[in-house]
Symmetry: D4
Subunit: 236 residues, 8 copies
């Protein structure tokens, strides 16, 4: 082939992402779209494919501009500007598809966007969520005051930046798995969330597992998986 | 007080560790002893307290010298030299205290000590374990060949050093939580397990959570917790 | 010399880069221009020199603004906006200058720009390319399904961000060199591609070599060199 | 000078460390000897100078072999093998030279050596000390149970390894300065105390300052300085 | 609950931060607002709550845009554009609420913003401040020339970027605690303040404690706490 | 199963590594044994399996003690104490199984062990090797003086510690792939080979690929693969 | 003092930097102004003070906006937009104030800004400069071809990004001190110049010293100091 | 060639290091032997070659065992056990071969070994040395008290571990080049000398250049080169 032709072909025929429609059967839930760095056209194509195959579509890391573009194509979609998620629910859904429940506990008000991403993910999975905000360790009376709200959850997600100490404390109160999500909230020797990440990895509580910095979706997905598998329903 | 007296007091009255005997009630399982850096005297004291209160005692990170010392005091104890665990089981235990099961998958033969620590922890929790060894990603045919052995587990623990890629691949095959344990196996730019740790934190599989490098106990504890809570019995 | 004069001289006489026209003879291929940080004037000068000496000119890391400036000077040039490459082919080129072929495999759709840079480089070298997209390890059935497309290549380039596990898996399937290109795709503890870089350096597959993060050109150049030298033609 | 002579001179005339006998007047306390890497001869010389000038001599980081050597020269000295300190008190000391008091709180039993170094330093400064052990955050009920023992201290030193979360929690309970000492206790992604250090530097509690990893002496010195200056006596 | 409803609820009911009004009683001073990343609405709400409860409100890390928004709501507030602090003093305050005093010493003119944040914090605590600027170690005659201004302070805060050597030198001149604040001033291998942070953590002066990079508020708070507790008044 | 039984089973039934005997067919060469951390028993077992199946067995990272143990079992084996390799050649081998050749260039005499590991690997693959030692960049006349020995190689392996600059210089002289092996030779800010690794990854020469620190086997394997595939023989 | 007054005072009385006019006498050259982060007002004040005291004023890290502001105040000043320096020479200067000379060698065209900062500094010191561009190690024939231009210099400054190998090679050719300046030119695992910095620190050439990343002024100052002290004139 | 023969050849024919006898002519001084990791045989060979060619031989990083071996072969040699250097001076040397002089200033007594390596190097070069010990910044009165001993040196070498602040302070007192040598002395967040290294690289003094951690030889060599070239004699 002539190189000039080769170049033209390169410019005109960028492949679109392939949607893994078998995922629901294999892993229990459909594929979720990671929006960061994707064009509106790419997002539109992927979401249309998911909707067409009857899935309850969820996209994360969607900024305001992407959301505006998607709102035109999917008027039934809902954008959560704090969580930066876009979701296109199926027309008919049962109010709740599982008896499972997850508590989402966050340390400070700056951790809210990640906590909201966790919640959106759990809502999408049909899991009941209890949100507990602003109970960071420097005000040590706050967390035990709310123990009744999270001690019987199927799993707890703890979202914290700065020194990331909250999962260790929560771990000492409960008998269920705790998923720690370090956030990039902080400054200086926080190194974009590394301080919180290391804190959680070194937790002296035995029941704390960790996901990537700011990985709200992943933490919600894991907690939701634990909850739904403990309370199976015909839907899941 | 006179400073010379003060010094003498310091030398003679080192506090012993306090055993948290309430842990079983609060968190579902008794405290496990982290042996690294503890003297045989300290270990003996803690284990005696646990045994006296009727717990099934487990100690991790026990080297050969510590084990020899403990074997004298607790002849009924069993030392697993590969896992470096020492366990003093209760006199009378049901064959299995739960219907739950966990698969433990390891990448290479050097990851065996950590995988064994996972297994000892799960045995201690009364959870059935399936061990799958030597299925690292460079021999890509090996893992799918054994899919039937792990696809229905309540949780999967994946132990891998070097590039730590195995949890991502396992994550794509199963619908349950995957706990990745990076090991310090490797050399050069492995940095004592950091390469594998970062790999697992950045896994493109949504169902992978991570624990500290070489933290076999923690991974086993989390997986066992998921399994026992999914199949509750009067014992747990 | 007077210092005021000295300053004026500094401002007015910035040296232009010297083009290494002997490179083709010494190393087999002409110099390729690294566009990042160069002004349009500098780029125009270097490319004009290459074209004048009869070379097939290629520039990488060319952004949209630079491309617009070059398009005026070189109307016969082609800009690949995804790969960010600008190429001015020689008037008369044989359809293909080698019987060699390289497979370029990428993990996710965000790795596309780097994969395209690899392809442009191989096209420029006259090497046949097979592009295989979206076969990341979390969907483990996808890669073996396409084995026939890459198992007989002279070399394989694998482009992957996140945990960078794909080269290890590919390495287990082929008997040829695998060049891994870590990309900066990811977030959090990805550290701009370091997680993928360490993964590839620690690959348990023996046939994986690594280049710098996002270094698509370098990987393509190495793979193309292996292919063309294995199938020598009068042109190379 | 002849080079052979020069070399001989180098070998024979290694300078001994100069003791800063003016330190007591300038900074409130005499110089403390950092023993690590010093020969027994060097230590003996420095301590003899301090004793001769009437100071209450303290040396830190003294291992068992150094201690044995010093015990011969200074039979009135006391070695604390846990804290690794050697102290030669003045013949006649008042029971306590200040009304100040400091609480030393440690997270786990492995943090004991550093906590003991803090205590030895405070004893040497004539400050009353309250030791509170084994109150790490994973057993969250333990710290508030002992609040009465530390809430009225002039300063609190908190010693913690692993995730280093304890100073943040203590900081939320008290109205005095908290000095955090990260310890190198831990494994894996603890990186020799870096995880605890970053945790403490990023503490969300406003009253937490930090010293180097394992720097028990420094933390004790700062806390003792705060306490003695708040309760000045003719001695200090 | 229906997922569409769930999403709407998420968008409309973001929680506002809870103000810890008990902090003044428990820790001696009211809560200070960390402005970075908060919306003007959030800031307005928190500050209004503090003002309504009779506190002397202080907010840090307030940029020009946030300040403009706050100036409308709180015309009695004062913005320090260098320190980036916004303060709403109580109507009636004694000229000075303590006899304590703190010296704030900075190395270079680029360290001024952090030094000003220290000063604003101390002013808010009612502590007298002495500012000493531009006495970095490369002009070694400058610091001792001003010894009389800081040698009798209750505490000294030293603000320095680049190599962060100043706290060690100051520590050698005084008998009071020195709080080092590394700043992010510098370039290249400064790594955003890490060079200065490590310098201060490794200070050979025994009386130097450290806070996070650019943490002017925290250093001022600690120094002010030491000063006010040494000179207690009915107000504090 | 009874837990005491379970423990016994763990102690007695450690799995042995599984030898991948299909590797020769799939990847062109049999599996090579990585000796580090393996017991003599494990090594003996694996090597016996390889020998029994007619393979030319090679083990790397074999220390003196392991070698002594293997020499008893395999008297026909040869230990290279510098390269730390143990090889058991097949009884009957052609003098050379390929027309390919590789040059191995090392910077300093401390890089010799890694260079020898490269050579052993190439010998095992039947590839002709040219060794060029002690041509580091600080003596810049040395490399060009030996150009004739490496300019026509099929591939060049460059072994260098310290600043790792040699691959870039070699890359400018040849038209073939250059595999850089950073070594851990050096001290201080060398960080165990990281300085050399980063140098090679950032090489301004387009034809330089990199392997892990001290990974002599991997570099030799890649270079040998390039050479044998360029000069195919019935044996390979 | 009233806190409201205190705040006003803070806003209105920011100290200006103090110019160290004694520097010329003490260190041989007047103070040079580091422009980064300084306002035009601050710069104007400092430069006016220097000019008034008869110094030959030089400011570095001056961006285009700052330069425009300074050009109005100092029409006799000269801005070098590549070096980002602003210089206000004394009315009457001898053509050259020293017989010393320095060679400035740079690796690639992107290193030009730093090389120009070196040159401006040397011009300001009255030292003759020889500029040698584009002689990076990947084109190894280029440097020796120009040996005559630098082998007799009093000192050589070598400016290089990417793998930073050039100073080691230059060091092998000369008998004078070589000052290496790593630049932040590169991408990926270059880490903003860290790769080049480590390369230079680990240079196997004994005569290579290093300055901070992009520190052109510092390298020029050191080289100029060596040159002028070797060839003293009445002016210096 | 038969592989068994190939292996034998590898074992028997390890190359010895090539001594660069042209170095004296090209760079002004003969090659210095870096002893670390070399066998006594290797060292003996290299030193014999140097002695035979009439050079004044110097070896650095020689431990006690290597020294004992060399003492037998070269009874005229002198071992400095603190500096870990072995030197074999020429039979007849002038008392001093240059009028140049260098001051070597060290911060603490643990920095002595590196300072001694600097001195040995300078003695070997025939440069007069002034040693100034124990003048670290925490005792700020000590350095200026000895100003007369170093202010007229041709160059100053400053050796410091911990926070590495001393070169910046020295830089402010002198008009000559300052070579900073960070040492690995310290603990915790010192990271084996990295804290001191970063401190020196970020020095606010313009006349400070840096060498690798513990690189006493390199610093001495550079300072000696500056001194000897400033005061040339027929010998150098």
């Amino acid at each position: 082939m002539d190189p000039i032709e080769a170049i033209s072909r390169a410019v005109n025929s960028q492949p679109t992402a392939t949607v893994d429609l078998d995922r629901h059967r294999r892993c229990g839930f459909p594929e979720v779209v990671f929006g960061q760095g994707k064009s509106i056209d790419q997002l539109r194509g992927i979401l249309a494919t998911l909707v067409a195959s009857g899935e309850d579509a969820l996209a994360t890391r969607i900024d305001a501009e992407q959301a505006a573009g998607l709102a035109v194509a999917f008027p039934q979609g809902r954008y959560n500007a704090v969580a930066r998620t876009f979701r296109i629910p199926k027309k008919k859904l049962a109010a709740s598809s599982t008896a499972g429940s997850v508590a989402v506990i966050s340390a400070g008000s700056s951790d809210l966007p990640v906590a909201e991403e966790v919640r959106e993910t759990l809502d999408w999975m049909g899991v009941r969520v209890t949100m507990i905000h602003d109970v960071g360790v420097a005000g040590p009376h706050r967390l035990p005051a709310r123990l009744a709200e999270f001690e019987h959850a199927d799993a707890v997600v703890v979202v914290a930046g700065m020194e990331g100490a909250l999962p260790s404390v929560v771990g000492g109160y409960v008998a269920c798995p705790v998923i720690g999500v370090p956030t990039s909230v902080g400054y200086g020797a926080n190194f974009g969330g590394v301080a919180a990440l290391l804190s959680m990895l070194n937790s002296c509580a035995a029941n704390v597992a960790v996901v990537n910095i700011d990985a709200g979706f992943k933490a919600g997905y894991l907690a939701g998986m634990i909850a739904t598998r403990r309370h199976p329903t015909p839907d899941t």
